[in-house]
């Protein structure tokens, strides 16, 4: 008989190695679908690793993919800390991108510093406002935020389609549904010439550091952790659970909105309805792999980005569908959940009390 006994304290080493082991397990489990697809196994892993890490180009691709993942990962991490399950990062990302286009596509112009600040702030506000709705519905009306944020994702994508086929449509796009381009002064500059790495990376890294300091060293940050750990106790201690939740919701939505700004103003230059290959959902996996730690999010985002880039080269090189990336990411989420059992509980074999 197998039993679980709670551990008093999780050993630090175990807490740090568990996500790494979970990621490796997910990569190992990917062998099953790779073989099912009839691809040579060793060759497949080789192509995946070389595709993700084997060249300067590959590494810059990983960095460029990690940029939105850091931000959506932070969005999930800060919300989940307060047990606010924001699954709407995908929608917030898109609304952030819509706001960036609204502000940065030439309706007005100014010096780059001003314009870049304007698109970033607009995107953050749009994301924050979108998440305030589900947060209010949760704290005031008890509506499950997972379901409301998921449903809002579908609504936002439809809204994006309306905008790129209507008010924001690029007249020069020859009928393709895409928005007017971001003007040069509002575009996030490239960090490395001839690559896709852009200044959004700096925004993401500063945000990770900011969220870390905010959660660990400020009073509102402490409230967020307290509300997440035990809302009743937090309320008893005189904290406003509603106020804290709204703050978390706004910050979480703002971070996801910034991810959208980066993709549209740093990478693509215009808005389409396939701007994000599911960065919002992958951000949840990033946050869980990171154990909801803001600095861990950066590392986890690089891992997930590497999986995406490696899978792309696997699909080009040996014709394994790039959906393998989503599969590995999902397996990583489930592995890290299971690893949480090992870190929080001691597994005992034998009769209870024996």
């Amino acid at each position: 008989m197998i039993r679980l006994e709670p551990r008093g304290e999780t050993p630090r080493l175990l807490a740090l190695t568990a996500p790494v082991v979970a990621a490796l397990v997910a990569l190992a489990l990917a062998a099953i679908p790779i073989m099912a697809a009839g691809a040579p196994l060793l060759k497949a892993y080789q192509v995946m690793f070389e595709g993700a890490l084997g060249s300067r180009f590959a590494l810059t691709e990983v960095v460029s993919r990690a940029t939105p993942l850091i931000l959506t990962g932070l969005a999930a991490a800060i919300a989940f800390r307060a047990r606010l399950y924001n699954i709407g990062a995908e929608g917030q990302l898109y609304l952030g991108a819509v706001a960036a286009v609204a502000v940065g596509s030439g309706r007005f112009d100014g010096p780059p510093a001003l314009m870049i600040a304007a698109v970033l702030i607009a995107g953050a506000i749009a994301g924050a406002l979108l998440m305030l709705g589900p947060t209010l519905m949760k704290v005031k009306l008890g509506a499950d935020e997972v379901v409301t944020t998921l449903l809002l994702n579908f609504i936002v994508i439809l809204f994006v389609q309306i905008m790129i086929e209507g008010p924001m449509k690029d007249p020069m796009s020859l009928g393709w549904p895409q928005s007017e381009p971001i003007i040069d002064s509002a575009a996030l500059p490239k960090l490395i010439e001839k690559t896709r790495v852009h200044a959004g990376l700096i925004v993401a890294l500063v945000a990770a550091l900011g969220v870390h300091v905010f959660l660990a060293h400020t009073v509102p940050g402490f409230r967020i952790r307290a509300v997440g750990a035990n809302p009743a106790a937090a309320r008893f201690a005189g904290m406003s659970v509603t106020g804290t939740m709204l703050l978390v919701g706004a910050l979480s939505g703002a971070l996801a909105g910034l991810a959208g700004v980066g993709e549209v103003a740093g990478l693509k230059g215009y808005l389409t309805n396939n701007l994000s290959p599911g960065y919002g959902y992958a951000g949840i996996v990033v946050a869980m792999l990171a154990g909801l730690s803001p600095l861990g999010v950066v590392l986890a985002a690089f891992f997930v980005a590497a999986v995406f880039v490696g899978a792309d080269s696997m699909s080009r090189g040996i014709n394994v569908s790039s959906y393998i990336a989503n599969l590995i990411v999902a397996l990583a989420l489930i592995s890290v959940l299971v690893s949480g059992v090992v870190t929080r509980w001691r597994i005992r074999f034998g009769r209870p009390g024996g």
Binding site: P33, A143, D144, Q161, I162, I324
Partner: protein, 313 residues
Amino acid sequence: MEIFDILVTVSFWVAALRIATPLIFGVTGALLCERAGVLNLGIEGIMTVGAMTGWITVHLGGSLWGGVVAAMAMGALCGLVLAVLTVKLGLSQHVSGLGVTMLATSASYFTYRVVLPNANTPPRIQPFEPLNIPGLSDLPVIGPILFQQTALTLLAIALVALTAWFLNRTPLGLALRAVGENPAAVEAQGLDVHRLRMGAVVAGSAVMALGGAFLTMSAFNAFFFEMVAGRGWICIALTVFASWRPGKALIGAILFGAFDAFQVRLQQVVGGAVPGQVFLMIPYLLSIVALVVWSRKASYPKALMVPYIKGQR
């Protein structure tokens, strides 16, 4: 106004019930899990698996009913994964459910690509035909509405009746409800809480998968990416609207189908004045409204989302 005249046409209600069918399966499955205390957010992925499995079984030469059974089996397998995570290991039902949705969805898409590596347009299958039972289908009004559907729609309605009977009239159904309200009391009765919950999640997931199978084997005749399109999440909202009662869930799903059928017809009337996407938003907006309005007075199963660990408490 003549737009509302379509509400009294028979063809409108035939469409409404057809659109409602995947929701009837989905909400019935979700309700079985939730009555036992497990929120099954794997639903969106499980419906995708059902859609893909049913379709691919037929595409590879299986029979339609063979596809239905295969879809249920794969749904049950996904349910087993979720049950181990949430019941055996007591992990977060929110995150585990999303994990199962991600896993099931990407596994479905990957499998599709393995079977059809280079297909741009998915091959079609011969789907279920409308029943047209002589006698029954000729009844006025009710005949076409009920019996010009495919067999799966009638199966959905029968499953609702069966679920209501099972939950309210059988000892096992009573135990299942009790395990969602007060698991400790069930254990005191000498019943196995984990086994009951796992059984409910596996069975509920098999029913959800039928909702997906209906999409590829009855509503359409092929598998498309993202074809489930949030129907799973809508079903989760519907369980709250229905206060976890099978009969009310059936009514909720049909109301939903009616709204959806109505917006399609409204779109044809209003035409180009409003972007088509505005109409497509309606089901999602309605779900949010349903959730917000009914969450306040909802009497949730008391042990919903509370893991049960033997020997604790």
